[in-house]
C-alpha cells in the first residue's frame, strides 16, 4: 500500500482518523505512541476518569502506615487511619499547595505542611493552623471546610484503586466480570497476598501504552524477544514458543492469555488445594485443562504476570508481579513493579520465588530488560512525521480464528495466544475513552 504524509490538523482529527482505520482494518497509526497533544488528552480522558491501582493493602498494615502514589501527575497519600479505614488524600496543602508528605512511605498520625505549618490528621481533617485566631479571626477560617482533598478509593481482594472522577461508576461495576479472571491471581491462598519490599520503580523513554499493549496479549513476542532467557535455561518451558497454544480471554476492561501444559505453573504445591477451594467450578474447568493464566492488562495501565522460574536446588517456583505503566509524558514512562506472594507459603519457597522474579522481572530482570529496549525504540521512531501516518499491523488472527464455543469463563476466548484479539480489545477500548464521538 502507499502511504502519504498528509498533514493532520489536530489531535481530535488524528484520533478520529486513527480510530476509523483501526476499527475498519486493524491498522494502528504509530503517532499514538508519541504525540504530545494526544498525551494531554489521555490525561484528561483516561487518567482523570478511570480506576487506577495504587497499592496493595499489605503495604500499609498498621494504623498510620502510608505510601505516596501517583495517578499520572496527581500525587496521593494512601493511608490507613487510626480506625483502620484506608483513605486516598491528595498530597497538597489547601493553603499554598505544598506537598504535606515528602517521604515515599512511613507511619504518621498527622501530616504537617512545612511551609506555614498547617496540620492535618491522617484522615485529611485540618486540625492545626498556626496563629489561627490572630490571623483569620474567630470566624474567618472554618477548619472543617479545608481538609486535604479525599479521592475515591475502593478495593478488590486487597488491591486498592483510586478514581479522580466523582462521577465514575463504582470499582466493582467497572471491573464487572473481569473479577473472574483477577481471582486466578488473587485467590491462590486463603491467607491472601503480601507485597515484598516496595515496588521497583524506574524511568525510561517509552510511551506507557506499549507496556499495557504488550502485557494484554503479546504472547507472540516471547518467541523472539525473550529467546535468550529461555536459551540459558531459567524458564521451566520446553522452548521459547511456550505461549503459542494457550487461549486468550477478553472481558470488559480486561484481557489476558494462558500458557498450555503448565498445570499450576510451579505454584507451591500446598496452595493448590486452597486455590481450588477459593475458586469456582468454571475456574476448575480451565485449570483442569492444564492452562495457567499468565499475562494480562486491566485498562488502562495495570498489568499482571504469574509465571514460573528455575532456581538451583529447588523445583521450579512461581512468582507473581503486578505493574503500573505510569505515564510521565508522551515519550516517558515510569514502571512500578510489585512482587507479591501468598502469605502462607513457606519462607524458603518465598525466597526462591522472589529471586526468580528478580532474575526475570523488575529493573534487572532478563525478560524485562529486552522489553524496555523494544518499547524505547518504538517510541523514538514514532516521533517521526512520516511515522505518524504509518499504519502498524494489528490483524493477527482476524482472518482465520473463531472464538471458542466451550470456554468456561465469562467474555470471549480464542484458541491460541499467538493472536492479537486482546491487543485489539485494548485499542478499541482506548478509542472509546479517547474519541469525542464515542463519549
Amino acid at each position: 500500500m502507499t502511504v502519504t504524509a498528509q498533514r493532520v490538523q489536530g489531535p481530535e482529527e488524528y484520533l478520529a482518523a486513527a480510530q476509523e482505520k483501526f476499527l475498519q482494518r486493524a491498522y494502528l497509526l504509530a503517532g499514538l505512541f508519541s504525540d504530545p497533544e494526544i498525551f494531554r488528552l489521555e490525561k484528561e480522558r483516561i487518567y482523570a476518569r478511570a480506576w487506577h491501582f495504587v497499592a496493595h493493602e499489605s503495604e500499609i498494615p498498621r494504623p498510620g502506615d502510608y505510601v505516596v502514589r501517583y495517578v499520572a501527575d496527581d500525587p496521593l497519600i494512601i493511608v490507613r487511619t487510626e480506625s483502620g479505614e484506608i483513605r486516598a488524600l491528595y498530597n497538597m496543602c489547601r493553603h499554598r499547595g505544598m506537598q504535606v508528605c515528602r517521604a515515599e512511605a512511613g507511619n504518621a498520625a498527622f501530616f504537617r505542611c512545612p511551609y506555614h505549618g498547617w496540620t492535618y490528621k491522617n484522615t485529611g481533617e485540618l486540625i492545626g493552623v498556626p496563629f489561627h485566631r490572630e490571623v483569620y479571626g474567630t470566624e474567618g477560617l472554618q477548619r472543617g471546610e479545608w481538609p486535604l482533598i479525599s479521592v475515591r478509593l475502593e478495593s478488590y481482594e486487597g488491591l486498592l484503586f483510586v478514581n479522580l472522577d466523582p462521577e465514575a461508576v463504582p470499582l466493582r461495576e467497572y471491573l464487572g466480570e473481569a473479577t473472574f479472571y483477577l481471582d486466578f491471581y488473587l485467590k491462590k491462598s486463603t491467607a491472601g497476598l503480601e507485597v515484598r519490599g516496595a515496588p521497583d520503580r524506574w524511568i525510561f523513554p517509552a510511551n506507557w501504552k506499549l507496556g499495557a499493549d504488550n502485557f494484554i496479549g503479546d504472547a507472540y513476542h516471547t518467541a523472539f524477544t525473550h529467546r535468550s532467557t529461555v536459551e540459558v535455561g531459567i524458564l521451566p518451558v520446553p522452548d521459547a514458543n511456550f505461549h503459542k497454544d494457550g487461549p486468550q480471554a477478553i472481558v470488559g476492561p480486561w484481557a489476558g492469555g494462558y500458557v498450555p501444559n503448565l498445570p499450576y505453573a510451579a505454584l507451591y504445591p500446598h496452595l493448590i488445594g486452597a486455590m481450588r477451594a477459593n475458586l469456582t467450578p468454571a475456574h476448575h474447568a480451565i485449570m483442569d485443562h492444564d492452562l495457567w493464566q499468565s499475562h494480562s492488562t486491566l485498562f488502562p495501565n495495570l498489568s499482571f504476570l504469574n509465571a514460573p522460574g528455575i532456581m538451583p536446588g529447588t523445583p521450579p517456583v512461581a512468582y507473581f508481579t503486578i505493574r503500573v505503566w505510569r505515564p510521565l509524558g508522551p515519550d516517558r514512562m515510569e514502571i512500578w513493579s510489585w512482587y507479591l506472594v501468598e502469605r502462607d507459603a513457606p519462607e524458603e519457597w518465598k525466597e526462591a520465588s522472589y529471586r526468580a522474579y528478580v532474575l526475570q522481572f523488575g529493573t534487572s530482570g532478563t525478560l524485562e530488560q529486552d522489553d524496555t529496549e523494544n518499547w524505547s525504540s518504538i517510541t523514538k521512531v514514532a516521533k517521526g512525521q512520516l511515522a505518524r501516518t504509518i499504519p502498524l499491523n494489528y490483524r493477527m488472527g482476524l482472518d482465520h480464528l473463531q472464538p471458542l464455543t466451550d470456554w468456561p469463563g465469562p467474555g470471549q476466548a480464542y484458541p491460541v495466544d499467538y493472536t492479537e484479539y486482546a491487543q485489539r480489545h485494548f485499542w478499541t477500548t482506548y478509542f472509546e475513552w479517547m474519541c469525542s464521538n464515542s463519549r
Binding site: 517521604a103 524511568i203 529471586r355 524496555t372 523494544n374
Partner: protein, 169 residues
C-alpha cells in the same frame, strides 16, 4: 583479622580498577572469575523516608539479589544472539573513588567501601544515564588472589534512572 598495610590498600585499589575495566569492556566471564564461589551481589531497594526513619534501604529486597549461579546465567544470556537489551551494547564508564579499606571479620578478608559513578549511553541517543552509588564490599584472599565475596550496592536514587539494569555496578 588481617591488618590493612599500604601494599594491601594499593592491591585492593588495583583490584577495583581492574574489575571496573572488565565491566566497561564487557569481559563478563573474566569479571565473574574475580568473584568468590559463594559471592553475594545485592542492590537493595531504597525508598525516601523521613530523616528520623533511617536511610530507607529495604533489607531482603533487590534490584539485584544474586549469587554466582544467577550472575552466570545473566552473563550467559548477554552472550547469546538474542540479548537485545545490550545489542548493540551500551557504552559504560565506571568511575570508582573514595576507596576505604578496613580489616574484615575473618582472616584474609577486608571490608572495602567505594563510591561509584556509572555513565551509560546507547546508540545515537544524545542523552545519557548516570547511576551513583556507594558499594560495601567484602574482599577475600583465596589462594593468594583477591576475590569479591560480597557486594552491597546502595544506590543514591529511589527511582532507577536507566531503562534497565542490564549492566553491573
Amino acid at each position: 583479622m588481617t591488618a590493612v598495610t599500604e601494599p594491601i590498600h594499593r592491591e585492593i585499589e588495583a583490584f577495583l580498577y581492574r574489575e571496573a575495566e572488565l565491566l566497561d569492556a564487557r569481559q563478563y566471564h573474566d569479571w565473574l572469575a574475580l568473584l568468590s564461589e559463594d559471592v553475594q551481589y545485592e542492590l537493595p531497594q531504597r525508598v525516601t523516608r523521613e530523616r528520623s526513619q533511617g536511610e530507607g534501604i529495604l533489607d531482603g529486597t533487590g534490584h539485584f539479589l544474586e549469587n554466582q549461579w544467577s550472575l552466570r546465567k545473566r552473563i550467559e544470556r548477554l552472550a547469546t544472539e538474542y540479548a537485545w537489551a545490550e545489542d548493540p551494547p551500551s557504552r559504560t564508564r565506571h568511575f570508582v573513588t573514595n576507596i576505604r579499606v578496613s580489616p574484615g571479620e575473618q582472616q584474609d578478608e577486608f571490608l572495602v567501601r567505594s563510591n561509584v559513578l556509572v555513565y551509560r549511553t546507547r546508540g545515537d541517543d544524545p542523552t545519557y544515564d548516570i547511576l551513583s552509588a556507594e558499594r560495601y564490599d567484602v574482599l577475600r584472599r583465596v589462594e593468594g588472589s583477591l576475590r569479591l565475596a560480597r557486594r552491597r550496592v546502595l544506590l543514591d536514587h529511589s527511582i532507577v534512572l536507566t531503562r534497565n539494569l542490564a549492566i553491573f555496578l
